[in-house]
Amino acid sequence: MHPKRKKRLWLVIGVVIFSSAGIGLIAYGLSGNINLFYPPAEVAAGKAPHGQSIRVGGMVVEGSIQRSTSSLEVRFEVTDYAAVVPVIYSGILPDLFDEGQGVVAAGMLTEQGLFQATEVLAKHDENYMPPEVADALEKAGKLP
């Protein structure tokens, strides 16, 4: 290789390494802000701010959904299997919202530790399968 080209090759490698390191450090420094939501364990540990708009994400606890008979109000609990956060929400829920499914709720923590949600989003997981396969797995008790 021509020495001039070799020099430029090292320059290119240098640009890639140093810019990656710089941006990597910025991303690492901001990682707390890049997270879309707080898991219930961090809410329980008091790391989530009160009286300020945040998001909480986790799985809806089986058997925790209570719908009001007279309004759109719904109460449920969100867990990351380490802690539980009770959520109250009034509005239309996405189709995929169900017990045992992932959700991300936006809203505010009240002083009583209740999460007053203004928006509830369903979080889909990475499992895709036909209904027959899901039925078979469910019968075997192995549905993810």
Binding site: R5, R8, L9, L11, V12, V15, V16, S19, S20, I23, G24, A27, S31, I34, N35, L36, F37, Y38, P39, G57, L93, P94, D95, L96, F97, V104, E119, V120, L121, A122, K123, H124, D125, E126, N127, Y128, M129, P130, P131, E132, V133, A134, D135, P144
Partner: protein, 247 residues
């Protein structure tokens, strides 16, 4: 040292004819793969147990997203070659890759939003995956715009190459964003290591569509390269011979 194959890549007439020969076979093959993959995925693959039919957008969303990421490396490597060897063909390849990549990224964002509305309950959320994809779109558009902004095209190629090289850091960030941070976007279903969490009956048409969009990318790149070569070499004898049909 056998550098002849590499230096031949820098010869415009050789590339022009080579691209033409490849396209003659690749273009029909790409169209066939796209048709078979789309019909298989949209009509014959089974519905998902939880999402029903709305998951079928995976057959467009995943292939265009994968190729949008891979295409960035094509642009950045072409940029590096253009910086190191001052090769005009590499410079042209970088410029051609930018709008194709921007188109694919935009398609990935739009199809994602269309799927997000019924599945998540929102068109848009600023999570790590989606935000880093928007940055990718801006990088592609930025490279394209930066080149147009310079009058001196040698300087333009240099600036674009450096911008695309700096942007490469974004690609692993996009890829790993769903694992590194809490995001609304689900983690990958197809993994290089470990189990794949998508049923084989849905996976095969998806793999076919991914291959088809890769092939489509190569076709678009070669078509753009040929058009760009004719344009930039328009005063040379080989282009005159080509256009006038004198062989």
């Amino acid at each position: 040292m056998a550098w002849t194959w590499f230096h031949r890549l820098g010869s415009p007439p050789w590339i022009y004819h080579f691209a033409g020969r490849v396209l003659r076979y690749l273009l029909p093959l790409t169209l066939l793969m796209l048709c078979v993959g789309a019909v298989w995925g949209l009509a014959f693959a089974p519905p998902d147990f939880r999402q029903g039919n709305s998951y079928r957008i995976i057959y467009i969303h995943v292939p265009v997203s994968v190729v949008a990421l891979a295409g960035y490396y094509v642009m950045a490597i072409a940029g590096a070659v253009s910086l190191i060897w001052r090769m005009k063909v590499a410079d042209l390849m970088m410029r051609v890759a930018a709008p194709i990549g921007a188109g694919l990224t935009l398609l990935a964002l739009v199809t994602g939003a269309v799927w997000g509305k019924p599945t998540w309950g929102t068109w848009w959320v600023w999570d790590a995956r989606i935000t880093s994809m928007v940055i990718l779109l801006f990088l592609y558009i930025g490279v394209y715009a930066l080149y147009e902004a310079y009058d001196n095209k040698t300087l333009a190629a240099k600036a674009c190459a450096i911008l695309s090289l700096v942007g490469t850091v974004n690609i692993p960030i996009i890829y790993k964003s769903v694992d590194w941070w809490y995001s609304l976007h689900q983690p990958a279903s197809i993994k290089f290591t470990g189990g794949t969490t998508i049923d084989p009956s849905m996976l095969y048409p998806l793999l076919l569509m991914i291959s088809a969009v890769y092939a489509l990318y190569v076709c678009l790149l070669l078509l753009g390269l040929r058009a760009g070569l004719i344009d930039s070499e328009s005063t040379t004898n080989w282009v005159k011979r080509e256009v006038l049909g004198e062989h």
